[in-house]
Symmetry: C2
Subunit: 345 residues, 2 copies
């Protein structure tokens, strides 16, 4: 299959590097240290100074960021739970286009990630490597000739590299195929997670595939393993979608168009139902139920964006909506966008 077909499966690509500075205690120790605040400020200042000089970054010093905004950034995958937990000493530098996020004093001193929509692991890797070089020029990393980069948790030791792809797998997960290939993925050193990372379920039929091992392999080998397996899974998903459409017939079509009808007309919509109905709708777009296959990929990306924008913290942050008003606000926004995006005859 071609790169183009994979785009209907791979929602986003992400490369993350874990690094620590040689001359500072690891964050878990730093946070308890007497001069934590000064040392943290120093690290943040150095990293921010370097990044600001090469492009447009926004600095979020976490102790000054409200809980609402922090949760919203987390729902957009721009920061992590651990960064919020360490807010006394942590910060994030986020590029204006929101593709690059450098977290300071998360579990490690540096967690630098590049997040790209669609299937583009290689470019994500190139971009984050550039950031990595710039930071390493300004402040020496903790590095061991034999072990490689030293990290707080041994699972990140070595390359500190995690390559991951968010995959939309409605056919494989609903038809039970995803469970069947799990052992194969695990033996290839890969992990499958739900949308919010480890331990979370596959909300909206979204699953993250990433490398488990960071040690004993080169960056190139890790990337190659993740890419090869993502492409195999994408090929299987596309084939399974074909079977699903054939076998599902009117029952499947009914499910998809009811999802469309509900998204266009509901007056109250919870996040969970929204994610599940959008997943049905995306499947319908992928299966060609809404015509014009050339538009399919763009429509699926738009639907991904709505699903993310309509998460509770994003709604609260962007629209200032309290919890009790969110279901009606969500219903209204989703209805407008879905109507504009897709028209049933």
């Amino acid at each position: 299959m071609s790169n183009e077909a994979w785009e209907s499966v791979v929602v986003s690509s992400r490369i993350r590097l874990a690094r620590n500075f040689k001359d500072y205690p690891f964050p878990a120790r730093l946070i308890c240290a007497p001069h934590a605040s000064e040392q943290a400020s120093e690290m943040i200042r150095i990293v921010a100074g370097e990044l600001m000089s090469i492009g447009e970054f926004r600095l979020y010093v976490m102790k000054d960021v409200s809980q609402e905004e922090a949760n919203s950034l987390k729902e957009q995958y721009l920061i992590s739970r651990d960064l919020i937990r360490h807010s006394a000493i942590s910060a994030a530098l986020i590029s204006k286009d929101e593709t690059i996020s450098v977290m300071v004093n998360e579990e490690d001193h540096i967690r630098a990630q590049c997040f790209m929509k669609g299937y583009d692991l290689l470019r994500a890797y190139e971009r984050i490597s550039g950031i990595d070089e710039i930071i390493s020029d300004s402040i020496p990393f903790a590095y061991d000739e034999q072990l490689g980069y030293l990290t707080a948790c041994p699972t990140n030791l070595g390359t500190g590299l995690r390559a991951s792809a968010m995959l939309f797998l409605p056919a494989m997960s609903r038809r039970g195929f995803l469970k069947q290939i799990m052992p194969r993925l695990m033996s290839a050193g890969l992990t499958v997670r739900g949308v919010y990372g480890e331990g979370s379920a596959g909300e909206g039929d979204l699953f993250q595939i990433s490398n488990e091992l960071t040690l004993g392999k080169s960056e190139e080998q890790i990337l190659e393993t993740v890419r090869r397996n993502v492409e195999i899974i994408a090929d299987i998903e596309i084939a399974e979608r074909g079977c699903m459409k054939e076998e599902g017939g009117l029952v499947l079509k009914d499910k998809i168009f009811r999802a469309y009808g509900t998204l266009c007309n509901a007056v109250l919509l919870s996040e969970k139902e929204c994610a599940s109905l959008i997943s049905d709708l995306k499947l319908g777009v992928a299966l060609g139920y809404f015509g014009d296959e050339k538009l399919a990929e763009g429509r699926m990306r738009m639907l991904d964006d709505i699903a993310v924008d309509m998460r509770p913290a994003n709604v609260m942050w962007s629209a200032g909506m309290a919890a009790e008003e969110q279901d009606s606000y969500r219903a209204e926004c989703v209805s407008k966008i879905v109507r504009a995006l897709l028209r049933s005859e």
Copy 2:
């Protein structure tokens, strides 16, 4: 409240008269008699001759009517189960506008009914009395000075009159009020039945109110009792709808617009779900959710018509659809009509 407001509650009005001919055995005996066929033909010929002379009636000799057509007529309330059961000797004369149906050899020799859309019991009574007179001129009825008209079942003795109204009672039935006023209706000599008559449930929130007693009261008294109670129930229903809208808020609105979305977009639709969603939609129209209150009554009538047209036997008879194709045919028809009838912004 006015007659106009009642129209949003009273779906249809029906007057039925039961009569028997003096010189023929009652149908239950006739059907076992040696010359049943000749005697039945004679009765049918006489009644048909009289009716055909005063207007446009279609004659259905039941032994020549297919099971499919018979079921379709039944779903349109034009004939009854008992008429089909007696098909060896029975017939129906149905006026071209389908408001008058005279059944021959149902439980009684004559069951003559006038069926009017909306609330119009008085006109229905006038029209059926005219038919009654014409038939009685041609063939003497079994009549007892003390008992009145003689009928097969004692519950019809006396006037042989049943006055009934089909009421749309979503607010009263969903809010539990219908059950509460049952004893009051029963003590007034009234019966409440589901849409297909005795013993059937209130599909689509439709309930038939009719007089239980036919003996010991004049036709005018019976009509007056039914009318007064129908109007009381209609007033309560309208008041309950107001409370429902106020208390239901967005949750109720959500339910109604989801019903709209499903009716417009489903690809498969069972009769039961169709009836229930149309009931939700009618409630929404009655509550003013679809704007333009002047159109409400007409829209509700149209929705009533769809619900009837989409019943299995009607779909089979009018569209020649076998059972396994009906759900998709129903979904398609309903979607077109509902979209044309109501537009959500």
